[in-house]
């Protein structure tokens, strides 16, 4: 494995990729912290930015921090209704009852369709915790082709089981952290495609295939295995280094508050009982598995094509096209589902969490995100079996 690693590490482009891996999480963390903003006060509409804004927001959350019960919700609602101008009401509520204003909007306004866009007609917020099913039904009404009857039932029954009441505290940084993991995954996926395109064509590029052809199939097989192990280890280490750098830099600046709050306080219609920390770890884990699957698809191509440029062209097309194809309305639902289950979808971190789709696996209904993981593990498994065969076959053939 040391020898295989040596081959990677020496290449200039790999050194550049490692540099990008180290620097990009720092840049993304710093930029996203700088993008935080909040108004200074009701009287002063000047915007505070960066860590100053975070401190201010955290300070404001002290007032609402704790269990979000009916009393607190109604108090916020009535305060809102006491201000006649909607824009001002929204801003003031955001200052006095941070977090709650957005939750009320998500729960009671027609954010997913036409109709009421303010809270003035609302009598009380007593049914707040059952509003998620109402809103989810509206999503289904808006996109009737998107979800099967079975998926709708599963989503609604899961929505009913969302634990209440919520524990509210400053957690906006988690929402941005989850989005940023998606950006990091995009950079990372490009990097592993670049690394993967040379992993099995390397011998041909260096005219070593003539020497390797003298080895019997078993030895080439072993070499193929070593290459896979090194590749997966290398990209995994790079991934966790990148995520670790990002997490340390980002949370050092934003703080860790809200880690045990349910994710619904930022994404009201999510149907799973998970906290922000669990969601963050889940996204990281999904990203890791799916990235390895992306890497293995590239390695399969590379071991078969034995060419850097053709692997690069076919690889980019194969990996990223599902993101585009699944967006076209003319694409049949079956194909859309297939495209949604390709590993590249791990890049869409928020979309994965808020997804209302489910899939059947061994007659058990499972969330689509989990099914995506199963598909990726399946891709890795198949690739691991196929790659050494392709490698030994292609080395010995002209």
């Amino acid at each position: 494995m040391h020898g295989e690693l040596k081959k990677y590490m020496g290449e200039l482009y790999v050194k550049v990729i490692i540099f990008v891996f180290v620097i990009s999480p720092v840049i993304i963390a710093v930029l996203s912290v700088k993008s935080f903003s909040t108004v200074k006060s009701v009287e002063d509409s000047q915007l505070l930015r960066g860590t100053e804004a975070i401190s201010k927001e955290r300070e404001r959350y002290q007032y609402v921090r704790g269990v979000l019960d009916q009393e607190k919700l109604n108090e916020a609602l009535y305060y809102y209704q006491s201000i006649s101008l909607e824009d001002i009401a929204y801003v003031e509520l955001g200052i006095k009852y941070p977090g709650i204003v957005d939750l009320l909007y998500e729960a009671y306004t027609n954010v997913y369709g036409e109709g009421n866009h303010n809270l003035y007609d609302l009598k009380n917020a007593n049914n707040f915790y059952s509003q998620n099913t109402e809103q989810i039904e509206k999503i289904f009404e808006q996109q009737p082709q998107e979800y099967t009857e079975w998926e709708q039932q599963i989503a609604l029954s899961r929505a009913e089981k969302v634990r209440a009441p919520f524990y509210i505290e400053f957690s906006r940084q988690w929402k941005i952290a989850i989005k940023n993991i998606g950006i990091l995954l995009l950079i990372y996926s490009i990097a592993i495609i670049l690394i993967g395109t040379n992993s099995f064509a390397y011998e041909k590029e260096k005219n070593m295939e003539l020497i390797l052809a003298t080895l019997d199939t078993k030895k080439l097989y072993t070499m193929g295995w070593q290459k896979i192990k090194t590749f997966l280890l290398f990209i995994s280490v790079m991934y966790f280094v990148m995520v670790a750098i990002y997490s340390v830099v980002y949370f050092f600046m934003t703080g860790f508050s809200g880690w045990k709050s349910p994710i619904q306080i930022e994404y009201f219609t999510i149907i799973y009982n998970i906290t922000f920390l669990q969601a963050y770890l889940l996204i990281i884990f999904t990203g890791w598995i799916c990235s390895m699957a992306i890497g293995m698809v590239i390695v399969v191509l590379n071991s078969f094509l034995q060419s850097v440029y053709s692997t690069l062209a076919v690889g980019f097309l194969l990996i990223y096209s599902p993101l585009i194809i699944s967006k076209f309305s003319i694409v049949p639902n079956g194909l859309k589902t297939f495209m949604r289950l390709q590993p590249v979808n791990a890049l869409m971190t928020e979309k994965l969490l808020v997804s209302l789709h489910s899939q059947k696996f061994l007659s058990i209904s499972i969330p689509e995100g989990v099914f995506l993981l199963i598909c990726s593990i399946f891709i890795i498994g198949i690739s691991v079996l196929v790659v050494p065969k392709f490698f030994s076959f292609r080395i010995n053939r002209e």
Binding site: H2, G10, E209, I211, D216, K219, E398
Partner: protein
């Protein structure tokens, strides 16, 4: 014993090799031929790199796990540029046979000493000179003492002392291994080969021991003196001029011809170079 039976290889309609039969026991075998005549193709077939050919290659019996069947030094060897010499040889050793790391390291040490690489073992392959890289290629080809060693233009870039060292080494190694050398540097094969094969137009046109090949040319090599080039040019196109040099204000020419080319020509002892010229260079060097 390495056996090649009725080997035929064509690239499309272009037949490169045909009716190649060989039966090689331990020893050194030289393959002479002009560029593009099919020597490298023949080596690629033996190495297993080319699978699309007709005929059979039968390899010596060996233990696949413990032993290294074949070592190959290709013409355009570059290795893994980012590895140092010792890293490269250890890496190649570990993939060539399932033996302990100690055994690999011991063999690497031995080969580095043999090919004069010990002092530069920590240099990366990418910074080596052509000759140094060739020596690394030779060391890897002989790693773990394979049954068969294929050397395609092995002395390319080696200086004269390294050439002599190389010849000495393979002379001793040839007792236990089947060593095949493909070259067009005729002197590389002098005095070391058990048998020499001359490849031309798809076939072996001549083969045998060095002595038998030289015997075949006996009486066909002449040396003659010419006063000027004008006089010499009369022979161009009729006989092959093997070599030319100035001699006491005259031009001395070595001519391949079945009969005495000029009245004053003296029959001389042929060399391997003359054998090669006889087969390939109509018109010779003039």
């Amino acid at each position: 014993m390495l056996q090649l039976k009725e080997i035929r290889k064509a690239y499309g309609k272009n037949v490169v090799l045909e009716g190649i039969n060989l039966s090689l026991a331990n020893g050194i075998y030289g393959f002479l031929g002009a560029n593009g005549v099919g020597k490298t193709t023949l080596f690629k077939i033996i190495s297993g790199y080319i699978a699309d050919y007709t005929g059979d290659v039968v390899y010596p019996q060996h233990n696949e796990n413990k032993e290294n069947l074949m070592g190959f030094l290709p013409q355009n060897f570059s290795g893994y540029p980012e590895m140092t010499i010792s890293q490269f040889l250890i890496y190649m050793g570990t993939i060539k046979a399932k033996i302990s790391e100690n055994e690999v390291e011991q063999d690497v040490k031995e080969k580095m000493d043999l090919f004069n690489l010990t002092d530069i073992k920590d240099k990366k392959l990418k910074v080596l000179s052509g000759g140094q890289l060739r020596r690394v290629g030779l060391a890897q080809a002989f790693q773990l003492n394979p049954h068969i060693v294929l050397l395609d233009e092995p002395t390319l870039g080696l200086d004269p002392s390294e050439r002599i060292k190389f010849k000495n080494y393979i002379s001793s190694a040839g007792h236990n291994q089947i060593i095949l050398i493909s070259t067009h540097i005729v002197s590389d094969l002098e005095a070391i080969c058990n048998e020499i094969y001359i490849l031309k137009n798809r076939y072996f046109v001549m083969n045998g021991t060095e002595e038998s090949l030289l015997n075949k040319c006996k009486g066909c090599v002449w040396e003659a003196e010419f006063e000027n080039e004008e006089q010499l040019r009369q022979f161009i196109g009729i006989d092959t001029v093997s070599s030319l040099y100035d001699y006491k204000n005259n031009i001395k020419a070595r001519i391949i011809s079945t009969v005495s080319p000029v009245p004053n020509a003296v029959s001389v002892k042929p060399t391997l170079e003359d054998v090669y010229m006889m087969n390939f260079k109509k018109g010779g060097y003039v």
